[in-house]
């Protein structure tokens, strides 16, 4: 979230799309109802199903799963056509006025630079025209034909309302009404917020779904505002913190990058990641990258990181391609992986195409499962009739199952969606012999360090150098590590108070630069519990610590115009008065700069200082979003460009491509979601939740049910090209047929919570059905739009 949970109460319009907050984040959703009751806010819900959020909405529009980008490009066209654009904001804070290179272009579903052989783009032309000093050229009048604004207008011009609703299946009147309600927030004193979740990410164009919405927020002037922003309602309790910790294949903590083969040495790594400014007078915050990186290396390698050895840079592994979990299981299936450690992740029940996951795990020499619960992954080798039919005796994988404690049995920090780092305390001991995760790594590492010291081996110096100098190396405490994450002055051990103090010379050590300030000489800022809200706007500066710098609303320079006057007096975040900045939040800009200078660098992490309507070279499938069908399209064509049906930059492995289904065999759109009683399959192990929601089911509309002779509560077989499940049918009015491109479509809604080792009734796991293909940028699998068939079945 650029904003935070309480801030939702400041919105005039709340849009829930690509998520179902009332069902999945019910307590956070109380701030939506608060906005409706106390701020006269309107709730708009757009979803393929009339869900629990829709049930309390002022306006509901349905759309076919996988058509969100068309919905948004039509909305952008509507905003421009009806002059509902906040032009002052757009000119000041976005790259609308930037001129794009002459060789950039778009035609019939493809941007310039596409190579059909590799299925990827050469993105060279997706960039600004530069002057001789290397600065981007701009035309503040927005008249230049190749300025971003005019290219955007041209790009969205094809998305007329009729074309949009032909793709999305939304009734035209509903679509127009939603456009109107959202469009009204272009006014300076009206703000909309968007709340989304996996309903947007789990598509082959998930990242572009979110970009489309972010572009709308910029055009309406809703970024950096109280009650506005781009607000991902994240899943797991610490998925934000673990993303901050960089536990993704190409990341390091604090959004630093794991070096790649192109970063041949430390200097090259810095050149690739500390950008040069693209406009004069930029803060260009990532220019500080070397300070953050060297401080991280000091926290990794301790005393062994010296200027002479480039702070241990060469001990870090370099990547040559993205080893995301989908690619890695493909490699595993091909027999290229020997060992795998799975921590708190029931991978057998969650990655797409369960049969493939089973096959891959069986090729491992060893599997280490570290978990508090008896999850299916650890027993992938056990034959379980109907649900896991495998040949146990022929699975030669050695498996370790190691018990861990849980949240209640440890202390430490988790980070909520609003970036609040909240410290928690230990209330009980772990059961029997269970150990904390860090204690388990420490135990294995101690053995490895001993073996390498005794026997030598490959790169023994890195294993020896890896810093583990905790008071008790066998069990590092959360306090020690939290202090390390904050950062220290190496010579004195003083806790740093701001990331401005970090140095690139090895004199500071810091595990995660964005966390600096969370444990200072004043103590543990994350444990603070003053819930006072002096401004009345939901900013509680004394409760926990919000990264970065205890800032609650990101990009808050954009809450005021070029002269530093708030767009809306009632939403004053930052204000220029009597020659200085004042406000209720920590400024997200250099507050020594005057309003005009700071406005030029209002989005300070960007080398051009402006938010990007045109994404340059950052996205895999284009600098603007474009509508592509899901990999399994229910209409088998793309009404915008029949030659380019699906995302042209998608990566799909040959065996998975062969397992994509056709709409003639599998005519219905399958989409997965969660129920409020359960959290994935985790809560199936909790008796109260298992009692509340014991039986897996699918949802289907009444028209299709009648056609198929299926009654409410009947057993049904739902099949995809991958496999099938047998479950119960819930026939409901919440789902309705759509007419898309002249064809009537039906949606099969598939709740995710189904497994056989929990306390709920044994059920087929639904990842048996889903396709093994991910978003072209993030490789997040397409769980929200795939093809299935359905028929009546015998009871199981």
């Amino acid at each position: 979230m650029t904003n935070h949970w309480i801030d939702i109460k400041n919105a005039d319009v709340v849009v829930v799309m690509g998520g179902n907050a009332a069902e999945n984040h019910p307590v956070g959703f109380s701030w939506v109802t608060e906005a409706m009751q106390h701020n006269n806010a309107k709730l708009v819900v757009v979803d393929p199903r009339f869900n629990r959020s829709a049930a309390v909405a002022d306006y509901y529009a349905n759309l076919r799963s996988g058509s969100d980008i068309a919905f948004f490009l039509g909305l952008i066209r509507y905003l421009i056509d009806t002059n509902q654009v906040n032009y002052d904001y757009v000119k000041t804070f976005t790259n609308a006025s930037f001129i794009v290179r002459e060789d950039y272009g778009y035609e019939d579903g493809l941007f310039t630079g596409y190579d059909p052989k590799t299925g990827s783009y050469d993105k060279e032309s997706w960039f600004y025209e530069l002057d001789d000093q290397g600065y981007a050229m701009v035309d503040e009048s927005l008249e230049h034909p190749r300025c971003v604004w005019n290219l955007l207008k041209q790009h969205v011009d094809r998305y007329t309302i009729d074309k949009v609703v032909n793709i999305t299946g939304t009734p035209k009147a509903q679509y127009e009404q939603v456009c109107q309600v959202i469009g009204a927030t272009h006014a300076n004193n009206k703000v909309a917020t968007f709340l989304y979740a996996l309903g947007w990410t789990q598509h082959t164009k998930g990242a572009q779904n979110i970009r489309s919405m972010a572009m709308v927020q910029l055009i309406l002037g809703n970024m950096g505002m109280l009650g506005g922003g781009v607000n991902a309602l994240r899943g797991h309790s610490n998925i934000q913190g673990i993303t901050d910790m960089g536990l993704l294949c190409q990341n390091l903590p604090g959004y630093l990058k794991l070096p790649s083969d192109k970063d041949v040495d430390l200097q090259a790594h810095f050149e690739h990641h500390a950008p040069k400014p693209l406009r004069p007078g930029q803060t260009n915050y990532w220019q500080n990258y070397p300070k953050f990186f060297v401080s991280l290396m000091k926290s990794f390698w301790g005393e062994a990181a010296t200027p002479e050895n480039n702070f241990g840079y060469e001990w870090m592994p370099k990547w040559d391609m993205q080893y995301d979990v989908l690619r890695y299981f493909e490699m595993m299936k091909q027999g290229k992986v020997n060992g795998y450690i799975v921590q708190g992740f029931n991978v057998l029940s969650s990655l797409p195409n369960k049969a493939k996951i089973n096959e891959a795990l069986a090729k491992l020499k060893f599997l280490v499962v570290v978990d508090p619960l008896a999850v299916e992954t650890a027993t992938f080798w056990r034959n379980k009739k109907l649900f896991n039919e495998v040949d146990t005796a022929n699975i030669m994988t050695e498996v370790f199952r190691l018990p861990t404690g849980c949240f209640a049995e440890e202390e430490g920090t988790i980070v909520n969606s609003g970036r609040w780092m909240q410290w928690h305390w230990k209330g009980a001991n772990s059961p029997k012999e269970a150990k904390a995760d860090g204690e388990i790594w420490a135990g294995i590492l101690a053995e490895l360090k001993r073996l390498y010291a005794e026997e030598g081996g490959a790169l023994p110096e890195a294993v020896a150098a890896l810093d583990w100098q905790y008071v008790n190396p066998a069990n590092p405490t959360a306090e020690e590590v939290a202090k390390q994450l904050n950062g220290q002055d190496v010579a004195t051990g003083r806790q740093l108070s701001s990331f401005g103090e970090l140095k690139a010379d090895g004199s500071t050590a810091c595990g995660c630069w964005i966390y600096t300030g969370s444990w200072t000489e004043q103590g543990n800022m994350m444990a603070r519990r003053d819930n006072a809200d002096p401004s009345g706007k939901g900013i509680t500066p004394g409760w926990s610590f919000a990264w970065p710098a205890n800032r609650r609303i990101l990009y808050n320079r954009a809450s005021a115009d070029v002269n530093g006057n708030p767009w809306d007096k009632d939403r004053t975040l930052m204000e220029w008065t009597d020659g200085k900045w004042t406000g209720i939040d920590v400024p997200d800009f250099n507050s020594k700069l005057d309003p005009q200078a700071s406005a030029k660098t209002g989005f300070l992490m960007q080398p051009e200082g402006h938010a990007r309507l045109f994404a340059n070279r950052l996205m895999a499938e284009g600098p603007f979003p474009e509508h592509y069908e899901p990999m399994e399209s229910p209409i088998g064509t793309n009404p915008m460009h029949p030659e380019v049906i699906t995302n042209p930059a998608v990566r799909i492995f040959a065996d998975d491509k062969a397992q994509l289904g056709d709409f003639e065999d599998f005519p219905y759109v399958g989409t997965s979601y969660h129920l409020t009683e359960h959290f994935n399959n985790w809560t199936t192990h909790s008796r109260l939740n298992a009692i509340a929601q014991p039986q897996h089911f699918i949802e289907m509309d009444e028209v299709l049910a009648k056609q198929k002779g299926i009654a409410n509560g009947d057993w049904v077989k739902v099949s995809s090209k991958r496999n099938y499940i047998v479950t119960k049918a819930l026939v409901t009015k919440r789902l309705q047929p759509y007419v898309v491109n002249g064809k009537t479509l039906h949606t099969i809604g598939i709740p995710l919570h189904a497994n056989y080792e929990g306390l709920t009734r044994e059920a087929y796991e639904i990842n048996s059905l889903t396709p093994y293909v991910g978003d072209a940028n993030t490789q997040t699998p397409e769980y929200k739009a795939f093809l299935v068939n359905i028929e009546k079945a015998e009871a199981i």
């Binding site: 060469e314 020499k365 994988t397 790594w441």
Partner: protein
Amino acid sequence: MNRRQFFKLCAGGVATSAIAGLGLMPTLAFAAPREFKLIRAKETRNNCCYCSVGCGLLMYSRGDVSKNVEPSLFHIEGDADHPVSRGALCPKGAGLLDFVNSPNRLQYPEYRAPGAATWQRISWQEAFTRIARLMKDDRDQNMIKTNAAGTPVNRWMTTGMLTASAQSNEAGFLTQKFARGLGLVAVDTQARI
């Protein structure tokens, strides 16, 4: 007196005086009321482990911190002081106690031999020794020290790691150091899916 007892007393006080005011004061009662069940409990503050709203929790355990007394949780409720959740919990959070005390919690390290159909219990030291041996042998055999261009790359691709997004930051940082320090590149978490 803690906050809860204070509220309880106030609420009781109001009710009693109202009844007395109406002339309905009972003459005498000998049966003692059931003791408030949290009265001897230790209260610990935490946050819900499921979604990322981060609702505040009050967890209650028995055990008086004296030697050899194991505290065990017997009640979890919302923390009314928490500015986001204001004391509320959803149906998932309301069942937290049953996750902590689930019969499916793992208790001991276990091992499944190749081809075997059952687990066998092992000690932690056996687990650490065997896992470290398997990892070292694989790392020594498959560590890629330089690429074709001669650049040091030091990547170990034949072992990978999938990490938890419900672990704390502090555990997560140790996980990161462990993984990259050994040269792993195939490291991912639930944020990927």
